[in-house]
């Protein structure tokens, strides 16, 4: 039997126009944009999902959603300007239209780990994809054990969400922040983010970790968590590969037998381990 197909409905490859409502500079090269749909409904999403974002003519890139999943009226993206496409997005002033497809991808398993201590390990701009998970967890604070943020940035002026860390702490998130290097005027921690793992004094059996950042950093974080007894099947990481279609059709983002845009970007580390052991995969 042939199923009827609504040929008027836009498919996942058709972008929706969104208008930039607000743009804020976070660091020298990173901007946060708040978008509203021009004609469609607000984009509901789960923490950890991403959209394919384009400023028209400059190419389309996968960008994690950094907003509050309980308040999807505005689609929030935190974008680092590292190439033509991201530069064009970062330069989009309020009123400018951007093209959005999605949301795509498997989310952080935050709803599945009720009762656990949740460690959120972020490096650099990796805090942006974790922000929706933090907000989701804090909105349901009573359902979890300890909530611990381990966040490493390159320098003090590259710390993301600096204006939110104190309020997150007041709401029950243990915030451990460090930078790789700093001048003497910085009174916080200096050192790599992996050094924070031991200081957090985790209880291995009850801890689930979610991590996002440069892949090298995540490998070191996983090793540090393993030293504390946290098993790799209790660690989830958000992976980055060359995602282009967002729906598992083009194959550019293949990682082992998996397509990151469809099966990820969030993976259980124990699934990733064998693939990451293969050079250049």
């Amino acid at each position: 039997m042939v199923m009827p197909v609504d040929v008027t409905a836009p498919g996942p490859m058709v972008p929706e126009p969104f208008v930039v409502m607000r743009r804020r500079r976070d660091t020298a090269d990173t901007w946060t944009l708040e978008l509203e749909p021009c004609s469609s409904d607000p984009l509901s999403f789960a923490p950890g999902q991403f959209t394919m974002l384009s400023a028209g003519g400059a190419g389309e890139v996968p960008i994690s959603i950094s907003g509050d999943p309980d308040d999807p009226a505005r689609l929030v993206h935190t974008v680092r300007s590292v190439g033509l496409a991201t530069q064009a997005i970062c330069e989009a002033a309020p009123g400018r239209k951007l093209a959005v497809r999605g949301p795509f991808g498997e989310p952080w398993p935050v709803a599945e780990v009720e009762g656990a201590d949740v460690v959120i390990a972020a490096g650099g701009i990796g805090l942006a994809p974790l922000r929706p998970a933090i907000l989701w967890l804090l909105a349901r604070r009573e359902r979890f054990g300890r909530l611990v943020l381990l966040y490493g940035a390159r320098t003090p002026d590259q710390i993301l969400c600096a204006d939110e860390l104190a309020s997150w702490s007041e709401r029950g998130l243990e915030v451990h922040l460090t930078v790789d290097s700093a001048g003497p005027e910085w009174l916080g921690h200096v050192g790599v983010v992996t050094r924070l793992v031991r200081r957090a004094r985790l209880t291995a059996g009850s801890t689930v970790a979610i991590t996002c950042g440069p892949e090298v950093m995540m490998r070191f974080i996983v090793a540090a968590l393993a030293d504390c007894g946290v098993r790799s099947d209790r660690i989830y990481a958000s992976m980055e590969r060359n995602m282009q279609c967002g729906i598992g059709h083009c194959g550019h983002c293949q990682l082992g037998p998996s397509l990151v845009c469809r099966d990820g970007p969030v993976y259980r580390w124990s699934e990733l381990e064998p693939w990451l052991a293969i050079p250049q995969l």
Binding site: G152, G183, E240
Partner: protein, 153 residues
């Protein structure tokens, strides 16, 4: 109030040492306090002591011409400050400055080296633990050198 050997035993670097070994180490130790901004160690100076941080924080710094003090790492309660006391020529390679009023256990390096010479089991235990500490710091430094946040991806 805790005795020195109890304080020392709580540090990861001295954990699981035999009570007799802890007493030997405590015999070379004493409690000290340092005000914020004061130096525990200065680059090039004799490294005749090392420290266990009880509370407070210590910054390891390098003075760079035209850039002033660059903080390499901050150390916190439970961390050991200094291993140059253990290796010839016993001179500090960095500056160490208290970032806040800090309580420390200060160890006499020459005293402890003498006890390690006389008791090789103690020496082996200490060397193993300091080597593990060195490996952790070396791995952290390697990650720092990679400057992973400085590049896309």
């Amino acid at each position: 109030m805790q005795t020195l050997d109890q304080l020392i035993a709580e540090s990861p670097v001295f954990a699981r040492l035999a009570p007799a070994q802890l007493q030997l180490i405590a015999g070379c130790a004493r409690n000290e306090r340092i005000e914020a901004g004061h130096y525990l160690l200065r680059e090039g100076q004799p490294a005749d002591r090392f420290f266990l941080i009880r509370n407070g924080a210590v910054a390891l710094e390098v003075q760079a011409p035209g850039r002033g003090a660059i903080v390499i790492e901050t150390l916190h309660p439970g961390d050991v400050v200094g291993w140059s006391w253990l290796f010839h020529p016993y001179r500090w390679q960095l500056d160490g400055r208290a970032r806040e009023p800090s309580a420390l256990v200060a160890f006499d390096g020459a005293c402890l080296r003498g006890k390690c010479d006389a008791d090789h089991e103690l020496g082996y235990q200490l060397m193993t633990r300091f080597a593990a500490n060195l490996v952790q710091r070396l791995q952290a430094t390697r990650l720092q050198l990679l400057d992973v946040y400085g590049h896309a991806g």
